[in-house]
């Protein structure tokens, strides 16, 4: 089973996770920019974070045979802090990088005017840079949030078929599917979706344009949830081809819209040091 996790925050994970993910079949990930738990207070913190997503994290991933790409953005929560908003001025400098395959994650948190502005501005940036957008739907007031998100997308220069709506569930999937956007589901240990509910959604709505992710981060989450969904799909009677479509071909097709996806990790640093563990170096 080959797996592409289209939304995972590896910066917050350990090398044990990378190893376990590779063992489970994960060969590619996209890491979207997000909130770190501790609020940032300046654009410079974002720059250093973007540097990590463009430098150190792909380097770590390559050592475990995993291709790492990223999505960059000002996240919705911090779009409300005027100290952070100026990062929108430097974001274009980062969106041109070869391993940036989307703008994201953007969307709504509390549905404020500042979030409206940041969402619209970043959809515009995505259109200008030939990138698709990863748009999450809010945790609170989800259906209203989805509708407002779709309104902003329709008013933007970015076609809706270049948008991945994430964190969907049973209550939002129908409307999201009707919009023509790609459909993302985050499978978590105890919130959002679980693997059995995910299988039920797939049975009802089919596998077209559906992506499943672990959204694993610094909170309670599990980077192997993509694999669990694959196993649950097989147990429920889905064929291997359908599993491959959801866990590999759909994310490849969506992020492939950027024209920047490279699934053979280039300059694999794992081969540079022939078995020496770089991660222990310096200890």
């Amino acid at each position: 089973m080959r797996i592409f996790d289209p939304h995972i925050h590896m910066t917050s994970r350990t090398t044990d996770d990378y190893q376990a993910m590779h063992g489970a079949g994960v060969r590619a990930v996209v890491e979207p920019s997000f909130w770190l738990g501790q609020p940032r207070t300046s654009p410079e913190s974002f720059h250093d974070y973007f540097d990590a997503l463009l430098g150190w994290e792909p380097f770590r991933a390559a050592q475990y045979g995993i291709a790492h790409h990223c999505a960059l953005a000002l996240n919705p929560k911090e779009a409300n802090d005027p100290r952070c908003v100026p990062v929108l001025d430097t974001l274009p400098r980062y969106l041109v990088k070869d391993s940036v395959v989307a703008v994201g994650e953007i969307g709504y948190d509390s549905m404020t005017p500042a979030e409206d502005t940041a969402l619209a501005a970043q959809l515009q940036l995505a259109a200008e840079h030939g990138l698709p957008a990863l748009v999450h739907t809010p945790h609170r007031d989800k259906l209203t949030g989805l509708r407002r998100t779709l309104d902003v997308v329709r008013e933007s220069a970015l076609p809706v078929d270049r948008v991945l709506l994430d964190h969907l569930n049973e209550t939002t999937v129908k409307e999201a599917a009707g919009s023509g956007a790609w459909l993302g589901f985050s499978v978590y240990p105890d919130t959002k979706m679980d693997e059995d509910r995910m299988v039920a959604v797939l049975k009802e709505h089919g596998t077209a344009r559906v992506l499943v992710n672990s959204a694993a981060d610094w909170g309670r989450s599990d980077p192997l949830k993509t694999r669990r969904v694959g196993d649950a799909m097989l147990a429920a009677g889905f064929g291997e081809d359908e599993v491959d479509r959801v866990l590999w071909r759909n994310p490849v097709a969506f992020y492939g819209l950027s024209g920047r996806l490279r699934l053979d990790p280039p300059d694999d640093p794992g081969t540079l040091h022939e078995g020496n563990s770089i991660l222990r170096g310096g200890e």
Binding site: V96, R262, E274, N276
Partner: protein, 233 residues
């Protein structure tokens, strides 16, 4: 994979490097490259009239301000991988840097806002762009990372020429720690010769590894042998 030799770009002329590169690119990439090089040449003309040393950026102190809009060739520099193919990106970036001949401030900005591949390209281009130690901050920044791609580039000819003895010895030791083959260290034999302090550091490192029951990197003995003073060999 072999570690690219940083010194390679220095010997061939810009025209020869371009011709050699163009042969490997397909039609679309060749067109893209020719536009990119024209923009880089234009940038070189623009700043050719300005006195050198102005607006000096210091990575360790004053932050490098991003310009409102990066120059056209800088955007080409960033996107070389997807337009020319990842396997040619390093050669394309080297050629762009040698054509645009950015000043110290522009180069520091390219490094600051570059991804790992761009930073590596900047480090490898240093010997072609500067004869003095003015860009050493970039080398030192790279040596603080744990990214072997950057560490390997930092110990190229520019680092060999300008790193002070203490920093250089630590750079060599870092290569051994992180598994960067010491073949990447430019001028290794010349700088290591009769370096008793480097010999001591290597010996201590070997003892520490042995005490921990871990293998001593093969390269360590190679470097240690190079530290022997000429009269003793």
């Amino acid at each position: 994979m072999t570690v690219p030799r940083p010194s390679g770009t220095r010997t061939a002329s810009v025209a020869a490097s371009r011709a050699e590169l163009e042969e490997r690119l397909d039609g679309a990439a060749r067109t893209w490259l020719s536009e990119a090089l024209a923009e880089a040449a234009h940038a070189a003309e623009q700043h050719a009239g300005q006195p050198a040393g102005q607006d000096v950026a210091d990575l360790t102190g004053i932050p490098v301000p991003p310009p409102a809009r990066p120059a056209a060739w800088e955007l080409r520099f960033a996107s070389a991988g997807r337009h020319c193919g990842g396997e040619h990106a390093a050669a394309v970036r080297a050629l762009l840097l040698r054509t645009a001949r950015p000043g110290q401030d522009a180069l520091a900005r390219l490094y600051r806002y570059g991804d790992a591949a761009e930073r590596r390209a900047v480090l490898l281009a240093l010997p072609a762009l500067f004869s003095g130690p003015e860009a050493l901050d970039l080398v030192q920044d790279a040596l603080r990372t744990h990214d072997t791609r950057l560490v390997a580039a930092a110990v190229g000819p520019y680092g060999a020429a300008h790193l002070d003895p203490h920093s250089w010895r630590h750079a060599v030791l870092k290569c051994l720690f992180t598994g960067v083959p010491v073949d990447a260290v430019a001028g290794l034999a010349k700088r290591a010769r009769a370096d008793a302090e480097l010999a001591r550091m290597l010996t201590d490192f070997a003892a520490e590894r042995t005490a921990a029951g871990r293998p001593v990197p093969g390269d360590l003995h190679r470097v240690l042998a190079l530290t022997v003073p000429p009269e003793a060999s």
